[in-house]
Each structure stands twice: as structure tokens, then as C-alpha cells.
Symmetry: none
Subunit: 408 residues, 2 copies
């Protein structure tokens, strides 16, 4: 039997409130130059410490599979309880979400780079010399002004940073994925986007649309010195994902600041609560919305940001700022509270990694691992062990007494 | 999606050197009569201790599945990253490898015992009274001299210890497995070897070959008092296993002393480096070959041997001898170093066991579990948790930064 079906069958409705607090990229590794401590270990966290002392279960979570480093998409999908290998999201979709674009069912999203073409039409620079963002915005405005539709499909163009932009094709009868037009190296022509499934008529139609878009757009860039072409990657559609509320029987809300995480939450049908800009404001808003939802996804970005920078002190400080805000959330303590990351972003790696992230679970029924603090090393000793992140939501449900007994 | 395919898709080439050091049967269990310590805990291991202090991740590995005791084949296949249930190797093949026989594609290998038949041709002793090895050698020489071929198939006969020997059938159009000819108890006749798949014509041909071999061989043994018959078990072919180098993008070498482990490494396509007889020589040779390979499998037998003898002191001493040699390896420290066993061989059990073996992983990115030593009890507290041994190689690859990020 499919395990998700079993969970569904056992699910009962309760009045419990659940909160999943994600410190993006929280996990880290200890190195001698940092006193053999991780940022979480080095940080002063009196409020997390007090929560731990009240009784928490700890453990570490494998985001996808042993040794695999997830992007933000798979990292969050696992936290939302969806198998990140089963539910994959195309790069175009992630990029569109990151720029705050709303995707409708059937939309095809594409990640684009402006590039430089030589006199023979071959790619000379795959990033157009990393043109400044303002130039990208000017060129996108130009394309937007001239190209509103291709055939019957609406075309949405949104500039990103430097040479990056996103195109969305919105219309009936489209499908994806298609292959990239980016040849992946210089000295080659822009490739044709082809259906991944050659027998799929809707993918063929989308390929034609992409080709027609090139025909319309390239002449508009002809006078440009650097950005006289563009390359498309991750041509994919909005994935069809079972709605969070149906799947778990929980009415979910998202309290995130960055567009990407709002977008990921929206993909599973969470309600985006707009407004808050800081973790304090996010927690304040949680208090205000407490009665309106059953499940709160609260996302804090800065642990990942400073991990990516390799900035140990700043990551440590971001954790301390989070800790200082935590008492606001605890004014109306959710029945089940999980605090974790979507993956590790170790400062020595300056990027996401495969290291299992620590997780803290607190509820009346979480048990007490009797650890003094919430840290990576402590979490190694916790009652949750090392487990796949996709099960965290099931453990939260269990702690909310949302599952009937299985069998007699 | 198949997880191995996902790993393959994410694999990138790096310059990293990886070393997998296997102390065969390393894991053990503590008993009061041994001061509540395992041999690894009781051993003086200053060099392992120093390595641990530099920063290591530890954990314990389930060789096959909870409670399952592996033979050397499944134990090593898991360490080589192959699911030991998916990739099974027949006992005839393992026995042939153990005797140093090289197997070619299509070869059928059979594990044989000399046995005693009574006047009615029924099995009276399944091990022919455990005849001495010299007698086995004499009888095998006799069979070899008289039987070079059966039909068009070449017959290779190699004596083992006491009553054991191995037969290999080499020819076109053969297949296996076949059922055993060993009835499993006395008072019954030698059984007919039958195709496991009755519709498989190649298996039928092989069954005929086995029957013909009996017809040729039994008359030659008629005058023998004890070894006047023989029983065949594990009639199987050399398995078809995806090559290690293709699978992982790593050029592998094997530094083993005992034929069985060379043979297992050869089954996955590792290059056998011949010559070294001791662990010091193996490490010296590793230094010499450092530039020629990306992956080194270094096998140390004596921990298992003394575990099988139930000799706690000798197993402890074998670990100390290994530890004393370790600084040679560390003169050119591999980028990723794993030290573990292929299974546990607890002295109180005097044989292989199901107890998860401890594993130590050291790299710039392994993190530091802040444990003082590498032991079973320490490994219980490590960041790797308890995991299936087949993932160790994937974790080693991750530590070598050999995997792209999954998803955006």
C-alpha cells in the first residue's frame, strides 16, 4: 500500500495548531577555525534553550537521499511532506516564483539568459558579459512592448538580476518539458527547443511557440552590442501537486518574505499572507492570524544567505536575531512546533549541502530528549534519529494526535 | 525514479581521491567478561584517535537489512555501493573467487564437497569424513587429469580446504542457476541438478553438462573409501554487474591480500594491484599508486579472522597493528577517507553477524562529531546515524563534491 494513502486513511480532524518554522540552510559543519563549532552551536540562543528545556524531541533530517544536495524546491517540498523525487519542479518554474510571478495551471515557465552572438550567429558569451540589471530591465521592457502574444498564447516577460529574465507562455493546449536552447558552451548556435516526448502534440505546439518567440524577439535585439541574443533553460510547466489542505486536513498559511518561498508554498495551495518584512513581524502576524489557519509555514531566509556568503559570524548573528524574536511566537504557542532548515548551507561550503539538517519538535507529546540545547551535535543524540525530511510533517500530525490507530 | 539514476545524473567529475579502508568483520559487541568493551574499544589506537580529533563523521551501517547477517559477497557489494539484494552472487562464484580463480563472462562456477556414498549409492557422509586437504588435492588432480572437457565445454577443477573443491564449466551457451545436487542430509541419493527456470534452454544444456560430468567423474572415484562421491551446490554464473568506473565516474583499484576480496573487487571492475602482503605494504603501495587511480579499496582481513576464532585479544591486537600502519596512508591523505567493516564478526558469536558496523568518514566537508575515539559506542552518537551500507559510497562521493545540486 502507498504510505500516503495509509496516512490519509488514518487522518482525523482535531483543533490543533501546527507551526513549521524554517531557518533556511540552518545546518552547518564544525571546523577548527570556528572553534570546532557550527553557527548554531556558537550562537547565544536563550529562548531556544528554554524551549528545549521544556521538553523537545530532536533529530536530523535527510532532505532527499543520502549525499544529495537539494535546491530550495526539493528542500521545501520535503518539509511540506511531499516526496521531493516524486514531485519535481522545473527550473523555469522556480525562477518565475523567485521573481514573484504567479503561475496558473497550464503555464509554461522558462528561465532565460541574455547572451552575446557573434557575426555568424554563434554564442560568444552565454551571459552577455553579465550586463547590469538596468540593461536587462531596459531590454525586457523593449521585448514586452513589442511582444504581447505569440499566436493565441499570452507572453509574460519579467527581468531578473544581471543577464537573467523569465518568460511565461500562457495559453490553451501547451505542455512541457522541452529541451534547452542553451548549447551549454560558446562557439555553437542557439539550439532548437524540442519536445522531451516527441509524440506529445502539446509539447510540439509549445516548441513551435518557442521558435516563433525567437523569430519575433531576436530582430528586436539586433542592434545590441552585448545582449543581442538569449538562451532558454528549464522550459517547464507548473506541476500538478495534490493540495496541502486535502492531503493533510490542515488549512495552511505561508508567512514568508522572499518571493521564491511564497511561490513554493503557493504551489501546494498555501494561502500567502502578505505584509511582514522581518521575523518579528512574521511572528506578530502569526499571532493575529492564529484563529484563521491550522498550519503556519514561517520562513526565515538569512541563515541560508550568510551560509552562502561563507560568513560564519553573520549566520550566527542571524540565528541570534531569530532567537530574540522567538518569544513573540511563543505567546500563543502552537500545539505542535517544528523548528528546522530545508537543508544545510555550511559556511565552509558556501552553498547548499547534503548534511542532514537538525530538527526540533515540541508538543505536549513530543517527549523530552533532555538535551540542553538545540544544535547539530545535540540533534545527533535525539529520539527522532536521522530520518527523511518528508516524514517531518507526518510526525507533526502525529504530535497533533491527528492519526487514528493503525489496525486493532 | 530510480535513485541510482538520479545519482548518475547528478555526478560530476572532480580531481578527488577516495579511499575505502575495510577492516573485515570490524564490528563487535561488548560483554562483561571483556570488561564491557569491544576489541575496537579495548584497543590502543592513537592514530585513529588523532584522525577522529581532526574532524570525522561517524555512524553505523546496516549491511543488508535489519537482522540480516551478510556473507563477504553482500557485505562488500554494499560497501561498493551496490544493493546486495539486487546484485547477488552465487556461492559457487564466491568460492571460485576465494580460490583465486578468474571467472570469464558466461562461466558457470560450482561449489563441491567430496562425500561418502554407501553400497546403495546413498549419501552416508556429506563431507567424506572431512578428508585432509592433501587427499582432496590428490583426488582433484586425478579428476583434472582425466576430465578436460565435457562435450565442447572446458572443465576447470581446483581443490580447496579439506573436502571442498570448485568446478568451473567454461563454454558457449551455458546458463545458471541450477538446483543443488546435495540432498542436504544423509540416506538420500545425489540429486539431479535442474534448471531453476525450466523453460531456459541454456540452463537445460548446463544441467545435461553437470549430469555428464557426474557420469565421467564418479567411476574415477569408485575405489575411494571415503571420497567416493561428490555433491554440488551454488551452481551459478558470473553475475553481470554494472562497472564501478561507469557507475561512479571513479577509476578504482583494489589493494587486497586474500583472493576472495580481489575477486569481489574484480567483479565490479576494479583493477587488482598485486604484491603487497601486509597492511603496511598495502598502504605503501597506495602511496605509490596515488596518481594512477581515483578510488582505492584497501582490505584488511585479520579482524574478521580472529573474530571468527572468538579470539578477543588477537582481534584487539589486529586493530592495533592496523592503527600502527595508518600513518603511512595518511602521508598522502585521500580527500575522502572511510574506515569501516563489511559487517560485524563479534568474538562471542565466532562468526559474521547482523550488528551494524561502525563507520568513520573523514574529509574537509565531513563535519566533526566531536567524538574522542572511533568505536561502536561512539559511532552510535555520530551524525551519520544508522544507515544502509550501500549509501556509504554515495556519502563518500558527496564529500568529494561529486554531486550537482538536485533541483533549483
Amino acid at each position: 500500500m502507498n504510505l500516503d494513502n495509509l496516512y490519509s486513511q488514518l487522518t482525523v480532524k482535531t483543533q490543533a495548531k501546527l507551526a513549521l518554522v524554517v531557518l533556511d540552510g540552518l545546518g552547518d559543519i564544525a571546523l577548527p577555525e570556528n572553534g570546532n563549532m557550527t553557527p548554531l552551536e556558537a550562537a547565544r540562543t536563550p529562548n531556544l534553550d528554554a524551549l528545549t528545556a521544556q521538553g523537545c524531541a530532536q533529530g536530523r533530517m535527510i532532505p532527499v537521499a543520502p549525499g544529495i544536495t537539494p535546491g530550495s524546491g526539493p528542500g521545501h517540498f520535503a518539509l511540506f511532506g511531499y516526496d521531493p523525487i516524486e514531485y519535481q519542479v522545473g527550473r523555469g518554474v522556480i525562477e518565475a516564483l523567485g521573481l514573484g510571478l504567479e503561475l496558473k495551471q497550464g503555464d509554461i515557465a522558462v528561465r532565460c539568459n541574455f547572451c552575446t552572438l557573434d557575426e555568424n550567429g554563434l554564442v560568444a558569451d552565454r551571459r552577455a558579459g553579465r550586463i547590469p540589471t538596468e540593461e536587462c530591465e531596459r531590454l525586457c521592457a523593449l521585448l514586452k512592448q513589442k511582444i504581447k502574444k505569440i499566436g493565441s498564447a499570452e507572453v509574460i516577460i519579467r527581468p531578473g538580476k544581471e543577464h537573467r529574465f523569465v518568460v511565461i507562455f500562457r495559453g490553451a493546449g501547451l505542455d512541457a518539458p522541452l529541451t534547452d536552447t542553451d548549447p551549454g558552451r560558446v562557439g555553437e548556435p542557439i539550439l532548437e527547443a524540442k519536445p522531451l516526448d516527441p509524440k506529445n502534440a502539446k509539447q510540439k505546439k509549445t516548441a513551435k511557440l518557442v521558435a516563433d518567440f525567437y523569430k519575433a524577439a531576436l530582430p528586436l535585439l539586433q542592434g545590441e552590442k552585448r545582449a543581442n541574443g538569449f538562451l532558454m533553460r528549464g522550459i517547464d510547466k507548473k506541476p500538478n501537486i495534490p493540495a496541502f489542505e486535502t492531503r493533510y486536513g490542515l488549512k495552511p498559511a505561508c508567512l514568508a518574505v522572499y518571493p521564491m518561498y511564497k511561490g513554493l508554498a503557493q504551489l501546494v495551495g498555501m494561502v500567502k499572507i502578505e505584509g511582514p518584512e522581518t521575523i518579528r513581524e512574521q511572528f506578530e502576524r502569526y499571532l493575529a492570524e492564529y484563529d484563521n489557519y491550522d498550519f503556519f509555514f514561517i520562513h526565515y531566509k538569512y541563515t541560508d544567505k550568510y551560509g552562502e556568503d561563507g560568513n560564519f559570524e553573520a549566520k550566527k548573528k542571524a540565528i541570534e536575531e531569530f532567537d530574540a524574536a522567538l518569544p513573540i511566537l511563543l505567546r500563543k504557542k502552537p500545539d505542535v512546533l517544528a523548528i528546522t532548515g530545508d537543508h544545510s548551507t555550511p559556511c565552509p561550503i558556501k552553498g547548499h549541502s547534503w548534511h542532514p539538517q537538525p530538527v526540533l519538535l515540541h508538543s505536549r507529546y513530543s517527549g523530552n530528549d533532555k538535551l540542553e540545547r538545540f544544535t547539530e551535535t545535540g540533534a545527533n543524540l535525539g529520539s527522532l534519529g536521522v530520518f527523511e525530511a518528508k516524514y517531518l510533517l507526518r510526525l507533526m500530525q502525529a504530535n497533533a494526535l491527528m492519526f487514528d490507530k493503525f489496525g486493532a
